[in-house]
């Protein structure tokens, strides 16, 4: 049958992965309409899409390019804040929700990609552990800078400060949009599960198409043997930057989805810290390097397990106690 429709094994595999996502979406929508999904689970649907997008995009850097990047949550942070800032700014200007979200999405992705490139250029000379440490530090820097950033707008324009809200010197009727550690409040909650699934599908298709194009072959060849790749004319710098940019752009997309799911956005160690970067890396490693379907399944399973084991939460302390003694 595979021969008849002229598909090779990997194309067939990709089709199955996309099919699983669509099927899961339809089943969940039916379950929601019959009222058999708890509100807890319903609230988890968008975060699940966020994690899946993060895992798949990191897989491009870690699994396909073979570089251990630990700054993925930082790129997500850039996407989340850039887009939430835009949406808060234009909430009254652009009333068409989908149009505003689409622009926010592009802004989030582009800003994250720019940061990806900014970070890729200095770390290109590094390999392995050194690259991991540097990207980890970059991720933390992004989170901490966001935490001391104050941006407001008034009739004269946009004001920026790294000290406090008073320093913005806003005119009467001005509005502080990014309030340092308090983050952005009142972001329009424009995202939903359907948008999340569409973005998951887009991420998957883009990553799959990259892998099966000359760009993907070049990236894989760099992972497999850098010296041989250079000897046949592969520009390593160029492809590393491309990979970092695309990977960061999709982390930004995940950030946009995340920030438009909550009305309050703050940069805490829990959501944009290195713990998050490592969690995403765990999704990728558990799902298998370079395996898109694996990343997706690992992200879902590792997000759902803690939720389902919540009733055992108290027992976790027992084990912690034991460890402390």
């Amino acid at each position: 049958m595979k021969k008849k429709i002229g598909m090779n094994k990997s194309t067939y595999n990709n089709m199955i992965t996309l099919g699983i996502v669509v099927a899961a979406y339809i089943i969940i929508q039916i379950l929601i309409s019959t009222g058999s999904v708890s509100s807890l689970m319903e609230g988890l649907l968008v975060p699940l899409c966020v994690y899946v997008i993060l895992a798949i995009s990191l897989n491009l850097t870690v699994g396909i390019l073979g570089e251990l990047s630990l700054g993925h949550a930082g790129f997500m942070c850039v996407g989340a804040f850039a887009s939430a800032f835009f949406s808060r700014l234009t909430e009254d200007l652009i009333t068409a929700t989908y149009l505003r979200f689409l622009i926010a999405l592009i802004i989030g992705a582009v800003c994250a990609a720019i940061f990806g490139i900014i970070i890729a250029v200095p770390v290109l000379r590094l390999k392995g552990d050194y690259l991991a440490i540097t990207t980890l530090a970059f991720g933390e820097i992004i989170k901490n800078v966001v935490n001391v950033m104050y941006v407001g707008k008034d009739s004269t324009g946009i004001h920026f400060s790294m000290k406090n809200a008073m320093d913005l010197n806003l005119k009467e009727g001005g509005d502080v949009i990014i309030k340092g550690a308090q983050g952005i409040t009142g972001t329009p909650t424009d995202s939903n599960f359907t948008i999340g699934i569409i973005l998951v599908l887009v991420t998957m298709i883009v990553v799959m198409n990259i892998i099966k194009s000359s760009t993907g072959r070049a990236i894989t060849s760099i992972r497999d043997n850098r010296i041989a790749a250079e000897s046949i004319g592969i520009n390593i710098t160029k492809y590393k930057v491309i990979t970092f940019a695309i990977s960061a752009a999709f982390a930004g997309v995940a950030g946009v989805l995340y920030s438009h799911n909550l009305s309050t956005l703050t940069a805490t160690p829990k959501n944009f810290g290195y713990n998050m970067s490592i969690l995403i890396l765990v999704f990728v490693v558990l799902g298998g390097m370079g395996n898109i379907r694996g990343s997706m399944i690992a992200a879902i399973v590792l997000t759902l397990i803690p939720e389902y084991l919540r009733f055992m939460q108290d027992y976790r302390m027992l084990h912690k106690r034991k460890g402390a003694e």
Binding site: N209, S213, S214, R217, N225
Partner: protein, 252 residues
């Protein structure tokens, strides 16, 4: 004029002059051998010729253009392709993809074209597939194009490496110990392959080899290297009778 003209090529690692005043002149279509004891600097010369190391001194003229000190990828684009002493294939890629990745500078399309699957993508992929399969057929690898490169038997991995190097359309091919680890039958087959490559692609080949049977069998000209310096140079049969070469390398 010679295709490759190297003059006074030198490189030192700290106090060690690994290559010292190396000269060579290779005519188009020649099969040229480079031999010498272990540590004589043969692979270092290959690394200098392909830009892995930057020479301290000397010029490398390829077809009238000085390529000394250029980046590896630019030297490849200028027309030098190589294979490695320890095979360096892209192990987790298929045999076909190993060749296709080398073809992508010729059949170029942007990352965006690939992501969006624009018509150019299909056109270029089709051309790449055809060209890659053509090359694999030459090396009798077309039956195994969809298996992982690491699953090929040793002899075929060597052949795939040559096919991959040829895919970049070089003017000159550098083979670093192509017969290493091969049994006499495989070596014989390899000799036929090298000759075949030279004749079909009208290729100029410079090879490093320890197997004297292969060297005396196919190389027309020979350079013997010892301690980074040229010991003898000239026609294979003459060089191999040189008493200095015999004491330094072949043994009495």
């Amino acid at each position: 004029m010679a295709l490759l003209e190297v003059k006074n090529l030198s490189i030192a690692f700290g106090g060690l002059r690994a290559v010292d005043g190396f000269d060579i002149s290779i005519e188009k279509g020649q099969l040229y051998g480079l031999i010498g004891p272990n540590g004589a600097g043969k692979t270092t010369i290959f690394n200098l010729l392909t830009g892995v190391y930057k020479p301290n001194d000397g010029i490398i003229n390829l077809d009238g253009k000085n390529i000394a000190g250029m980046r590896t990828i630019d030297i490849n684009k200028a027309g030098v392709a190589r294979t490695f002493q320890n095979i360096r294939l892209f192990k987790a890629m298929t045999v076909l993809d190993n060749v296709k990745v080398a073809l992508q500078n010729e059949y170029r399309y942007s990352a965006l074209t690939g992501i969006c699957r624009l018509p150019k993508y299909f056109k270029m992929e089709k051309k790449m597939n055809e060209r890659a399969e053509e090359l694999l057929k030459v090396f009798d690898l077309d039956g195994q194009k969809d298996i992982m490169a690491s699953n090929l038997p040793y002899g075929k991995q060597r052949k795939l490496e040559i096919a991959r190097a040829l895919a970049t359309n070089p003017k000159m091919l550098l083979l670093d110990e192509p017969a290493a680890g091969m049994n006499p039958n495989e070596t014989q087959e390899l000799m036929d392959t090298i000759r075949f490559v030279r004749d079909t692609f009208d290729m100029t080949i410079l090879l490093i080899e320890h197997d004297m049977k292969l060297v005396s069998g196919i190389c027309e000209q020979l350079t013997v290297l010892n301690f980074g310096k040229v010991l003898a140079q000239g026609e294979t049969s003459v060089v191999l009778k040189n008493p200095e070469v015999i004491t330094a390398y072949l043994g009495e």
